[in-house]
Symmetry: C2
Subunit: 724 residues, 2 copies
Amino acid sequence: MAEAASQDLLLAAAFVSDAQYNRNIPFKTSPEAVRLYYLYNHWIMRTATYFFIFLNLSLAVFEEPAVYPLPFLVTSVVEVLCLVVFFGRLTHFAKVTLRNVFWKDTKNICIMVAILLSLTDLAIYGVLRMYDVRSIRWSRIVRPIFLINFAESRQIRRAFRSIRNTLPEITYVFLLFMFSLLMFSLMALKLFGERNLQTAEGLPYFKNYLEIVFDLYVLVTTANSPDVMMPAFDFSSWYALFFIAFVIVNTYIFMSLFLAVVYNNYKKHLKNEIRKLAYMKHCKMIEAFNILKEEEGAQFVVREAQWKQLVKLVAPDISNSHRELLLRISDDEQKGFIDKKSFVQLADLLNIQVITLKIRSHPLGQWMPGVYKSAVSRFLRSMVRHRGFVWTYDVIILINAIFIALDEETPYISYAEWVFLALYIIEILLKVYTYEPRAFFGKNQFWNWFDTLIIFAALTATILNTTLKSTTKYNSQQILDIVFILRVLRLIRIVDSIQRFRVIMNTLINIVPTMLTFGGLTLVVYCVFAIIGMELFHGKIQFFPANSNAPHSLECGNAALKDSLFARAKYCKNNFNNFASSFIVLMELTVVNQWHVFANGFANVTVQPAKLYFIAFHIVMVIIIVNIFVSFILEAFFVEYSLEKSEVETAIEQKIQELGMGVQEDELQDEHLLDNMESAEHDLEGEGGTKPQSKGLVFKIASKPSFPLFYLIFCARLSSVASL
Amino acid sequence: MAEAASQDLLLAAAFVSDAQYNRNIPFKTSPEAVRLYYLYNHWIMRTATYFFIFLNLSLAVFEEPAVYPLPFLVTSVVEVLCLVVFFGRLTHFAKVTLRNVFWKDTKNICIMVAILLSLTDLAIYGVLRMYDVRSIRWSRIVRPIFLINFAESRQIRRAFRSIRNTLPEITYVFLLFMFSLLMFSLMALKLFGERNLQTAEGLPYFKNYLEIVFDLYVLVTTANSPDVMMPAFDFSSWYALFFIAFVIVNTYIFMSLFLAVVYNNYKKHLKNEIRKLAYMKHCKMIEAFNILKEEEGAQFVVREAQWKQLVKLVAPDISNSHRELLLRISDDEQKGFIDKKSFVQLADLLNIQVITLKIRSHPLGQWMPGVYKSAVSRFLRSMVRHRGFVWTYDVIILINAIFIALDEETPYISYAEWVFLALYIIEILLKVYTYEPRAFFGKNQFWNWFDTLIIFAALTATILNTTLKSTTKYNSQQILDIVFILRVLRLIRIVDSIQRFRVIMNTLINIVPTMLTFGGLTLVVYCVFAIIGMELFHGKIQFFPANSNAPHSLECGNAALKDSLFARAKYCKNNFNNFASSFIVLMELTVVNQWHVFANGFANVTVQPAKLYFIAFHIVMVIIIVNIFVSFILEAFFVEYSLEKSEVETAIEQKIQELGMGVQEDELQDEHLLDNMESAEHDLEGEGGTKPQSKGLVFKIASKPSFPLFYLIFCARLSSVASL
């Protein structure tokens, strides 16, 4: 019986944690499946999956054409290993979930097909290789599928789904844009084609319709402005009007239109997704409730003891007091049980970060109370807390900045570096002495962590460099570079002293997690294009150091580039000869400028239709992904600007206040002041002894949702909408 | 007594029309002032003011350095004339408005100061000129003040006010951005400064801190990507990481942040403005009501007769039936009077475009009923109405496109041009024959107007060209160019046949009026920068035709440009030698690409700090104005996408339906079908005879607000908010 109850609890906990983390895995309810399910979601398993996904992707670095070449045998063994791990993970998932659900899910099918394709391609390539026949490793472009389709990378998949849903609308705007482009090209052909004008390179100007279309497409991206206009403009000033009209219509209006369409659709689809998610969450919580419910009077409820065990299972790392708080919120009237409505809220309650502030005295105060509470120590601590302390260090940072800008060679200045390092270390020590160390290195104290890491890294690197210098009389350039960068990064701290800047910086820091999703998206697009690019352009363009005397070293080792803009601009190192170079080229193409020089250069060394590769990349990356990125940043900022606490958050906060364990934000000058370097909004204060319930313990809602930001807020808001 | 009543009506009508057009002129209520007020708002007076504002601005074209030089005497007389007109307008305004209000308004003071400054400068310049001393006409940069500050250009002033309100927030982000730029520059100096690297032009690379800051600022605008990175990248691939980090932080994140801040603030301030406006409107309507009110039972009301006279005064050009409709809405229960609440709505009611569709038979049907109603005529008309007719012409347009792309010289093709022209003219005639001409050329029939104008312009130009050719054996190039453009523009019509495209095009057309505001904004910024630019760079760079043998003709007539990128790219015609050239250069700077080549080129021929001019232009134009433009397009599209009819519109529509004069949108196949080329949304149908009230008359709310778009919608929505 006890065993059965515990089984029920495990199953309910699985449902609740699914709801909490917005997972949508329809698992089987047998005890064995639930155990497998826990194993499947264990952080080690998840991290391992990610590790193998990235290992598989990074194989491109070691395979031909390689940055760091490894024998084919090694890379193929690693690839097979990765595929086996993926297959294992999939089998594991199949055992957890229902059979018919598993086979209906396209992402599972995708993974299986991708594994099969990769194996087949590997086998064919291996066999052909034995007979010394070179073939294309075409299966490499399916590798990003693993990153998209494993259940762990839900965010990226959602982004891809949004893109897919946005495509029809974008397509219409794109067709209209193409129509406008073709019309303007036709006009250009008629207006300039028969004038026998020449470009700055002496080539015929606007003679061929397709070339005009390409040139004007480049003008839309502004990459060849004003060069493309100059010959016509030199001929007659009035022709500038044609190009002005073109730029207004195509660059300004159509490109804004793309952003508007992408933004609008992305927002719409995201809302739908989140609505669906909230509904799914609700269903999961109801299932959990139904497992644990017991009859109490006219209604079904969950007993307090059950509930506590459930929370312990779902969130083992939250403190007892936090759990007690959640219980008080769920069981408002202390009846000893939780009703359905309060129970369903649990997933959202668990998601809200409540900072438990233990009002502890400083450890030194406990170990050496005599010394710590002496007049000198008190003076020291009040000095560190004083606003002047911050200002003094701001001045020091500014002086440091001037010293960095000055020449390195003067011995006084390199000694000064040691002085600054010492000053910064003293600052950190003083702060740790004054504030409670565990509070100083708290979870949300980004800047404290940042400072400490930077200073100690700089210290280590400087010592290492000095040691090397004194023993081998030789500066290691890599270490010196790192020292330089760390030294400059230290200056960022000054931003933290100005309230307005800190607000902007905090917003930027809050967006980081969501930007990682776009990092993933970009990675997928880059991988696919890099692999295609390497197949198309590998080895066609070579980079030779400045003093090389290889044939055609000035033309990037390819006679076809003679007199081309590509060779003249010395772009030879921008090539697709290995994975890393390809990424850098794609990065430059994302920035857009000069992409037509790349397109023309690579088309010259292969075939003219190769330009299509560059146009395709521009459409996918710049018109779609970058616009989504911009939409995302816009939306994230609007949410940050208009951040209101959700209903659930308000409920918690109310309860915290009711229990007398809240943070009084107005009593700032107190002895227990934790950190006066934080903004007013962050100012924490604990007045433990006045209220009976609080045992040196205060709670505070984390002022900004630190995880997927607006996603969470939406969830919390929509959960009430979706409560069916 | 009648005279007094009429005075009251005039005064009330002035208040109502102020409310209707969102004017905020606190005029005096004396009879004379009201008469002057009417004169002040007369369209001729307003148009004349605009004419003189633009005349004053366009003087820059004729003054030294001139595009079309005119003697100093002529331009100065014209300028004095303009200033006199402005002064007259201001005096007129002073007579209309209250004395203390007039002197408190900064815009009046601004205009007066601007007039004084202009006169002083003109006098000094004239006197110095007599003694052959050349001085600077510095007052020319105050001329755009007239465009901003005359009450007529309210939209532009509002945009400027929004910008001013957005500035503090932008400044903080900008400072943070500058801090990031300076930090990265410091790192770049430390990392690359001592490597003795060289740029592609053989210049030292990243040696001087200020130059690094400039180069990296240019990289933020992406204009020198990837050139600025290549030397470091060639030295070591790892250094690419520095530039990638730089681009992600500064180009992607900070530039999106600018857009976010501008968009957010612009939206916020616009909402505030509109809230204020709605309040002001309400006050004006209350004042009008208080003038006309009479006691009726327990409440004050306005009698129907008074109301009708008022509407006739305010909107003399609306039809009797439209006025009747408005009365029915205001006096819902036909009590013979209008209460306060309904009266206040009047300003909004007048703003809503109600299309009065008179169901008239075709004039030919009245003149020659026998012919027009014959079987042949009926067949012809049903043929034109058939979907196949549209398709046939779509095919013709496509064939036309192919003919245009083919070579002009073949005689058959130039004959074909006549065939196409004839076909298009036949189409228009057939349509006018089938549909009622006044409906065909209705106010909202944009495409019909477009077609007709294009075709007739093409016909005129082609005939003119042929005449010239046959009489003088010589093609006029200008006319030929216009013929080419018109010929291609005809092809746009094909867009109109595809539903999805038409929706996008209609949205674009709806944004045009609001884009004009940004045209005004841009004009002001361009004028100021063009005038400064001409003072700084006039004559420094000369353009010589290709075969010129002037000294330094390859270096744009300036030895300082030898070997510069500017001269090598043949940018000599991009100079500040006259007003028109300056505008084109500023346009190219707005597009951003290659702006650093301009900045370096112009700095070389003058002094290095001249680069600040280009940076200032970039900040003002690209970071602020273009972002506002993008925000505006985004907002406009979101409003278009989520367009719901406002409350007032719904009320009118309800009333139209109640009165049985609505348009039945489902009966499409009717004989009276007006225009089956319009979208389903636009399909108009009038079934006159079935309901007793409708005397061959139907109403329809214009499906999109055609004037300041989202502004109106906001107004209508907020008027209920602001009802105090």
